[in-house]
Symmetry: C2
Subunit: 190 residues, 2 copies
């Protein structure tokens, strides 16, 4: 999505080798009008794919997931971090290792919020190594639901998580894929 690539170049900041800060429009500050345009693009990319629900993980995935769910006219669910302590009832859970924060998180979803046989679109702001997506895919499997695909705002292609998921047969659509980045330049996949 050309408009997203331009926004990343204009408003994003590369820190170190592999951190891209897009707090100006996608995290912390939310350019909701633009997120809705991104969601329109997701709807276009998944045209013809049956989707019953959107699934993401707190906190940075929620805003984009809400916009996608709004455009698809389906509910959204977000996995909570920090284990089951602040969630009541039976839960599905998965371990997600964050390379950005160098810590592992148990994420949980209350069982009643994912139904058997539902077709679930997994949505997230970033895809890097794929740890978060793999955790969410695992949770969808625990619920005997189906992964309809994964819709990502920004994929760090050089970290290969997206390509591994595509090789495994998942429909992974990222609105921008970065193949190389440094503080002076960002190269997008053609």
């Amino acid at each position: 999505m050309r408009a997203l690539e331009e926004k990343i170049l204009k408003e994003g900041k590369v820190l170190g080798d592999d951190v891209l800060k897009v707090g100006a429009f996608l995290n912390q500050r939310l350019d909701v009008r633009f997120l809705m345009e991104m969601a329109d693009e997701v709807v276009r990319l998944f045209d013809g794919v049956a989707i019953d629900k959107v699934l993401t993980v707190e906190a940075s995935g929620i805003a984009f997931a809400v916009c996608v769910a709004h455009k698809l006219n389906v509910p959204a669910v977000y996995a909570k971090k920090g284990g089951a302590a602040n969630v009541s009832g039976d839960t599905y859970s998965a371990e997600i290792y964050s390379f950005t924060h160098k810590a592992s998180n148990t994420v949980v979803v209350t069982k009643e919020y994912l139904e058997r046989g539902e077709r679930v679109l997994i949505v997230d702001d970033f895809l890097a190594n794929g740890a978060a997506l793999n955790g969410l895919i695992d949770i969808v499997g625990q619920a005997d639901a189906y992964v309809a695909g994964c819709a990502i705002a920004i994929e760090k292609g050089f970290q290969r998580g997206g390509d591994k998921l595509r090789a495994a047969g998942y429909k992974v659509e990222s609105l921008a894929i970065i193949d190389e980045m440094s503080s002076s330049d960002i190269k997008f996949r053609g």
Copy 2:
């Protein structure tokens, strides 16, 4: 908002004396279609009030704040928990004590995401003692911005935070105000 009161009665669960779980539509599972109707009601309640930006706090406030920002056609910003460690640049900060989780959180907003003179609508899913709102109001003040008002999904009126803020002169609009609740009954303010 009658439809919200009915939804709370139908889908909410009262735990103990003062915890209301609405994970089925407002937290964790997000009934985005209904959240957008709630946002329409916020727009109606703040008709004639100039608003430049929506401010909330992660994670449970984000979904409703995104819907309100969408309907107002303004950006949203969310304060991050856990101090400044995962946020780059200069920040405004406030301490927020959570009576639900019995823990204090430092919440931060990157300075460049709140501008001097902006009229900020503070949005949250719950209002109880007012700790979160007071922290966000403090942050708006640090930015030399203005509090245009507070829009809340569910106010636990019996915890008085909302009435104190109204007495202090803030326009606080809650879509449902609970004056009494127990596992067998919920009484809304008339």
